[in-house]
Symmetry: C3
Subunit: 458 residues, 3 copies
Amino acid sequence: MAGSPRRASGRRLQLPLLCLLLQGATAILFAVFVRYNPETDAALWHSGNRSSSDNEFYFRYPSFQDVHVMVCVGFGFLMAFLQRYGFSSVGFTFLLAAFALQWSTLIQGFFHSLHGGHIHVGVQSMINADFCAAAVLISFGAILGKTGPAQLLLMALLEVLLFGVNEFVLLSLLRVKDAGGSMTIHTFGAYFGLVLSRVLYRPQLEKSKHRQGSVYHSDLFAMIGTIFLWTFWPSFNSAPTMLGDGQHRTTLNTYYSLTASTLSTFALSALVGEHGRLDMVHIQNAALAGGVVVGTSGEMMLTPFGALAAGFLAGTVSTLGYKFFTPVLEAKFKLQDTCGVHNLHGMPGVLGALLGVLVAGLATHEAYGDGLGSVFPLIAEGQRSATAQAMYQLFGLLVTLTFASVGGGLGGLLLRLPFLDPPPDSQCYKDRIYWEVPGEREDEAQGSLRAEETDTRA
Amino acid sequence: MAGSPRRASGRRLQLPLLCLLLQGATAILFAVFVRYNPETDAALWHSGNRSSSDNEFYFRYPSFQDVHVMVCVGFGFLMAFLQRYGFSSVGFTFLLAAFALQWSTLIQGFFHSLHGGHIHVGVQSMINADFCAAAVLISFGAILGKTGPAQLLLMALLEVLLFGVNEFVLLSLLRVKDAGGSMTIHTFGAYFGLVLSRVLYRPQLEKSKHRQGSVYHSDLFAMIGTIFLWTFWPSFNSAPTMLGDGQHRTTLNTYYSLTASTLSTFALSALVGEHGRLDMVHIQNAALAGGVVVGTSGEMMLTPFGALAAGFLAGTVSTLGYKFFTPVLEAKFKLQDTCGVHNLHGMPGVLGALLGVLVAGLATHEAYGDGLGSVFPLIAEGQRSATAQAMYQLFGLLVTLTFASVGGGLGGLLLRLPFLDPPPDSQCYKDRIYWEVPGEREDEAQGSLRAEETDTRA
Amino acid sequence: MAGSPRRASGRRLQLPLLCLLLQGATAILFAVFVRYNPETDAALWHSGNRSSSDNEFYFRYPSFQDVHVMVCVGFGFLMAFLQRYGFSSVGFTFLLAAFALQWSTLIQGFFHSLHGGHIHVGVQSMINADFCAAAVLISFGAILGKTGPAQLLLMALLEVLLFGVNEFVLLSLLRVKDAGGSMTIHTFGAYFGLVLSRVLYRPQLEKSKHRQGSVYHSDLFAMIGTIFLWTFWPSFNSAPTMLGDGQHRTTLNTYYSLTASTLSTFALSALVGEHGRLDMVHIQNAALAGGVVVGTSGEMMLTPFGALAAGFLAGTVSTLGYKFFTPVLEAKFKLQDTCGVHNLHGMPGVLGALLGVLVAGLATHEAYGDGLGSVFPLIAEGQRSATAQAMYQLFGLLVTLTFASVGGGLGGLLLRLPFLDPPPDSQCYKDRIYWEVPGEREDEAQGSLRAEETDTRA
């Protein structure tokens, strides 16, 4: 009974109060802890004797902007494929990003940039916060349409925290390389979301099945997301790498990997499609797997051929996953993965981590020359062999899977708290429960939409 | 009688002649006055002994591009929420921007970069021209749907001129700080448009009421505008600031302010919505108020906490404005504000100006160190106290409100010239009067569209 | 009989096999030939004694990203105006771009950056590859809706090769200037596609006439393409120019040229429209002609006035072309040009080449100073007079027209190979033959879509 007075009044207050509470808390923590770093503080910057053109802003900000567009435009519209859930897809992406950017500034700041009790912020922390928001939005994809905004904010509250811990363990303790986040972002976000979705399993979800597909124009909106993600992914993987050749090489590898995953996605989609027809779900998602799969190895000497091979493999695995694995996940494992994040972020993320193990294990002084120190400082300093670095990389993957699974389980339990008011099975994948929707009035809500052209996705 | 032969023939010639006349005039003025500046002129650049990498292009162009996207994509699609006015929203944005960019190059050039009788142009003048176009597009938002393209071009002709005068008074005479234009762009553009809309008040506008709302997909198109504006706003506020820490700090402040205005917008929208439902109008607009409110103070030492607080306040005021103030404006003050620019640009712009007064008044040598000279040169040189600078800032706001109101009034009188052929009350918010619209033929035009899903906005 | 078992099974395997074959071939060639250049290779970069900030990445990557967005988002959505061909427009753009980027890396690499038997890649080669993809997508526009994906891939296979040859002749042998590609990209791509379309002439195409137009929302999707192209075109023309003043000046010229073509497009569209109404086709396309027309001369000392004049002329010619010339092309010359690439790329490209002849012929030491060497090295070194350079420019145009026409003819013959399975006349401009389309099932396919709002374009 979505319309009962008590629930309506509960919902009325729940989201506002949670937003205000979270905003109040982060604001207080910002007041106490967050300060401009030496590149953004007027006094600190001018006390150094540096030229304006040395400011890190000029080397990182264009990449940051591309990442920012990917997080907000890319993820938001990619999830807008659902025929009657576009407001929520785009709107809740916006809400989750806004909160996650603040909260992860704090969490990542405590772990990575605490100076004299203060968190220092600048363009690097902005990139890192956007990366964390990306992980949260990946998890959102797994449970898209089945949760309310208050639940999502609580998920973000927990996930940002665990993201920070996992990233700290990998990057600072294990000294693992993972610039583009095959592990820390994609694997973590995907498995966190998947386990969470498993805990929230809804056996009666076929009640909303007819809204679980796209309509013609919603698929085109989703392609806006896809193409901005595809276009800017080279900036995503390279945003936090070492300046110079590292950043340059990462963009090149990502660029080629994405072209190959696009070709393999078209090939496989037509091959497995009825009458050889292409499936928009594959194109929208699997074509991007090439970006995910070089998230770890993109800054390494992967070689252009290596990038093509990796992308090709990722597009193949991802497309086959959508076709054959997603239905099995739901039927056998009771895992409802709305956007197929397992296919776009989960498997390609794990593949990317393993590729990182391989490429790190092959690192030689000959291949990297004096640049070895900027990619693998511990190998260059003789503290680790390439094989040891590879083992650490592998261990990082296992740590990530563990944190993600345990975290997702905890998240699921948290989101099942009864007062959180999830949408009933019959109201999933539908904006109307959370939004004023033009053209729909209360009395029409029980009926079906006249103009609804429906389709169901596998 | 939109279809009467004389009016149709008048319209047929009015827009073409005006476009040709304006283009001819600016072209002649360009030929006489406009020259490459020393950073874009082959001979002048190479006569200096500078490395290519010193060219200002590399420090300003990425920000310029973001601003350019905001002006064309952001404003254009943000206004495309109307169900049957999308062609006009996006198309007239395009037309107005094209003219305003040329015309403001001349006007701003006369005021700011006249060298030996010539206007020098380069990336800075491009940024400034885009800023002026933004102000014109804000005013467009207030009268969206109620004016024809010839009227709009005349509005731009006048507004660009007054924008240039107001900006000259503030920045060059009063030496006020306003990098992101809380005053010069947002306050000016909003109140110019609002007063103009008041002069053009249409008591019979409810004849078009049923087209004054959105449909499902038009709201998603509008979200494209919103999210690009949100994502690139840090570049907008920082585009013309001092290089180095100034530009870097401005992006950071704007980034955090926007996250806070997004959270407060979601909180307030759900709080005041029927059954706790969110309203797309609020999300599309009020979530952006955080960018407006730090337009003046973003380059100052606002602190990250200050940015959050400012954004939170702006989102709150803006959402409440849409809910409670816009209906009052129309009912009591006969002010029809189609896009609610009073809520997104007017009130947050004034708040932003006042925040600038406050933060300027608190400026100390201690907080800014040797950077004081780049933010507040007059204070650093001892020519003004911080309190005096604050008073000048406040005076700048009053000057802006005066210029905007008088200019908007004049603009309204200009646009009421009878031969300008405004759309009749029954044809407002409708593309068909100015555009060939697919699927609509002459004989259908009097009837209602079959598939029209209608909704009215407050 | 699109549904006959043999054809369906043929189609089922054709696209996958072609994708896999092409990807396999380029991957092998990448393994053998493609290597990181000294700016992207860890060992090579660090063996030089350069600061990270000198890496070419920081001077070219932001422009590259804008170009990349134009190719994928811009061209893709610009072609999405067709009411039932949006999946194909956006999807095949994606597929063609992915393949062309790989293949042109190889072709252009053989011609331009072979070092010791290896092709060196970095941000410059990425820009060049995107430029070549743009030419392929221009040709796609001429045959949009009338060809299948396997045909398109074969077209790209041939066109990329000839693009590389033509570009090599112009830039390396004739030493012609053409940074933004008025000749190499626009003229070449347009006439290649037009001749190809002529060879594929379909006399019975009116069977699909009712799908050859737009619907309301498909026109808005197309405007996404238009506005991103318009906004980023300054980056397109300037991406490969000399650093410093050259790049800066090119952006400025392109920016002004586009504003003028927009104004002349609105003027002419209203002038020639029924009842003075504007036509979306003109706005979506002709407004962009200002970018095309300064592709050659944008880096020269065109002067801001020259940019306005050029843009004005291009917008005029392009709009008149859509109105009067396109119908004649089809009726008299049996040339079906779906997107009107003759009006947007063909005529403005030729005009741009001629403008390049003129501006190169006027080059003097006085106007360029010591910068003459960076724009016209042969004139600065005394090896050519300005007039001689102008003649070479003109000859370059003739060479381009020849390569494009002959290539397009060959391409047409190639695409007529019978096993390539083109869509039947009655199935043109329709996604369903190649895509799973939501809401359409096999049994509905013969009938017309209920909600189809139709319109036909001239």
